[in-house]
């Protein structure tokens, strides 16, 4: 009985949170047109979320690609189809690994940065001070961060994919001696524009989700040190779960 009450209590909490996020999103979208009038703020945020994440994204991409190359080569070797390594690597990265891993890394690096920045501004009354100075913090602080992140995510995704393929090539061709020509030609023959589109769309959708969660958690964090910490943890957890759920849905639709 207590369990049931807990579950329904949590269900209402959940519904409340969903409602809260939706209303927040509504306010945010409403402020976007005016936020676009200050491109310098958005550029600064693209830098904050995107350019500063490049190192982690590119490094991880290289290793993910390399591992994919290793695993792919080993597996395909058993069927005598090592030439298909290009196909396997590219399709795996473009459709799944690229968007999903990028989103998870993004949530961990940029998402937490956004959440903690906004949470700290909340805790030190900076957001309230802005409201008192008749400046809407949604327009001045939240919207530029959201837009900056929205632009950064798909770019990071494609960079991840490209570097990842390079990583596959490094291991497969340079290391294991897979024929370079077949590597690329088989890839070209099997990867279609649709697949690339799917990867980019996933990047955009995950970007929307992860950025929304990060700014929401930061903005609504409890104005204490503990609250900020909790907000950043929740950002990573919820972003990860939501990303994987959306991944399943998009893959199912686009298959």
């Amino acid at each position: 009985m207590k369990l049931l009450r807990e579950l329904t209590g949590n269900a209402f909490d959940f519904a409340g949170t969903v409602g809260g996020v939706t209303l927040f999103l509504g306010r945010l979208l409403g402020q976007i047109p005016r936020a676009l009038l200050r491109p310098s703020l958005i550029v600064a945020q693209v830098h904050n979320t995107g350019a500063l994440s490049l190192v982690i994204i590119m490094t991880c991409a290289l290793f993910v690609g390399a591992v994919l190359g290793l695993l792919g080569y080993d597996t395909l070797l058993r069927f005598g189809s090592e030439d298909a390594l290009g196909t396997v690597g590219a399709l795996g990265l473009v459709k799944e690994l690229g968007p999903v891993v990028t989103a998870l890394l993004y949530a961990g690096r940029a998402g937490t940065a956004l959440a903690s920045e906004l949470g700290l501004m909340r805790a030190t009354d900076q957001l309230t001070a802005m409201e008192m100075m008749a400046v809407d913090p949604m327009r001045r602080v939240v919207a530029p961060r959201f837009l900056g992140g929205l632009i950064a995510m798909p770019l990071l995704t494609v960079i991840f994919i490209a570097i990842g393929i390079f990583g596959v090539q490094l291991v497969g061709v340079q290391n294991f001696g897979v024929d370079s020509a077949s590597f690329w030609s088989q890839m070209r023959a099997s990867v279609e524009l649709n697949d690339v589109a799917e990867g980019v769309i996933k990047g955009c959708v995950f970007g929307f989700a992860c950025n929304l969660i990060a700014v929401y958690e930061g903005y609504t964090a409890h104005p204490t040190a503990e609250g900020v910490g909790r907000a950043t943890t929740r950002t990573v957890v919820i972003s990860a779960v939501l990303t994987l759920m959306l991944d399943y849905m998009i893959t199912a639709v686009m298959l």
């Binding site: 700290l120 501004m121 030190t124 009354d125 900076q126 309230t128 001070a129 802005m130 409201e131 008192m132 100075m133 008749a134 400046v135 809407d136 001045r140």
Partner: protein, 283 residues
């Protein structure tokens, strides 16, 4: 700036109508089932320094939020210069807030900008002033608080007192009619405190700004404030000049003003009988 032009006219008009800038009439406010205010009545006189005091948790910050329109009272009315604050829509509320300035307890400077940019912030957001003019205004305000030389420092490099002075300069940038100080003396050394006191006085004398100071500091406020309100148990417990309140008949006012450790606000948190608890075998 814009408000500087309007202030003399409006105060000349309203002086005939009312002496008080902000009126709080029979305000009730509760949150989460707990009643914070039940019939609060006070008025903030124009051009004077008014102190708002009370024991911890009486809702002084809540009162400020009611005045600035961040929250609405469940009953009662709050008027600013005759305008009912809770009836305003967002745009009008923002316009009203431009006439007020609020100094937060921790300064609340924007941490990603330097001192100059912080003070210039309201000007950049609300006016289209050319850059040289903004520069002059900012430097003037910083000069008034004695921090013109610190214009290029970042907020993290400032001490607590300097932080608050910059925040004061920032609120002054748009020449508000009212300045609200939320616990301006907390955590300052005597020198910095002296500076803030002097600045509050100066703003009031030189510029005729109505000042509301929320604080615990009875000693400083005794010299500083013209009138004061002591708020306890959701109502105004006492009002008047602070030095007159030292011998007030109300117990809670007496305890507060004289800093007595025990009284209506008890020393001991409610607990079971001491002897019984000690003698009990288990908790």
């Amino acid at each position: 700036m814009v408000s500087a032009v309007s202030t003399p006219a409006s105060s000349a008009q309203s002086a005939a109508v009312t002496e008080s800038l902000i009126e709080i009439r029979d305000v009730h406010y509760s949150v989460g089932g707990r009643s914070i205010f039940s019939g609060l009545n006070l008025s903030i006189p124009r051009g004077r320094i008014t102190a708002l005091m009370g024991p911890s948790g009486t809702g002084k910050t809540t009162l400020l939020r009611l005045i600035t329109g961040q929250i609405k009272p469940t009953r009662g009315q709050i008027t600013f210069d005759g305008i009912d604050v809770s009836s305003l829509k967002t745009k009008e509320l923002y316009a009203l807030r431009r006439r007020m300035g609020m100094l937060f307890q921790n300064g609340a400077l924007l941490t990603d900008m330097d001192v100059f940019e912080n003070v210039a912030f309201p000007l950049r957001e609300h006016t289209d002033l050319p850059e040289p003019l903004i520069r002059n205004v900012v430097l003037t305000k910083l000069q008034a608080v004695g921090l013109r030389g610190a214009a290029r420092l970042m907020p993290s490099e400032l001490s607590g007192g300097m932080n608050r002075r910059v925040a004061l300069a920032r609120t002054m940038a748009t020449d508000p009619e009212v300045l609200i100080y939320d616990e301006p003396f907390t955590g300052l050394d005597p020198i910095s405190m002296g500076m803030i006191v002097r600045l509050v006085r100066h703003m009031n004398n030189a510029l005729g700004i109505t000042s509301i100071v929320v604080s615990h500091d009875v000693k400083e406020l005794t010299e500083l404030s013209d009138t004061s309100y002591i708020i306890a148990a959701g109502k105004v417990a006492a009002s008047g000049e602070l030095k007159d309140l030292k011998g007030h008949q109300s117990d809670i006012v007496n305890q507060f003003v004289n800093g007595l450790p025990d009284g209506p606000v008890p020393f001991h948190y409610p607990a079971a009988d001491y002897r019984q608890q000690l003698l009990a075998d288990s908790e």
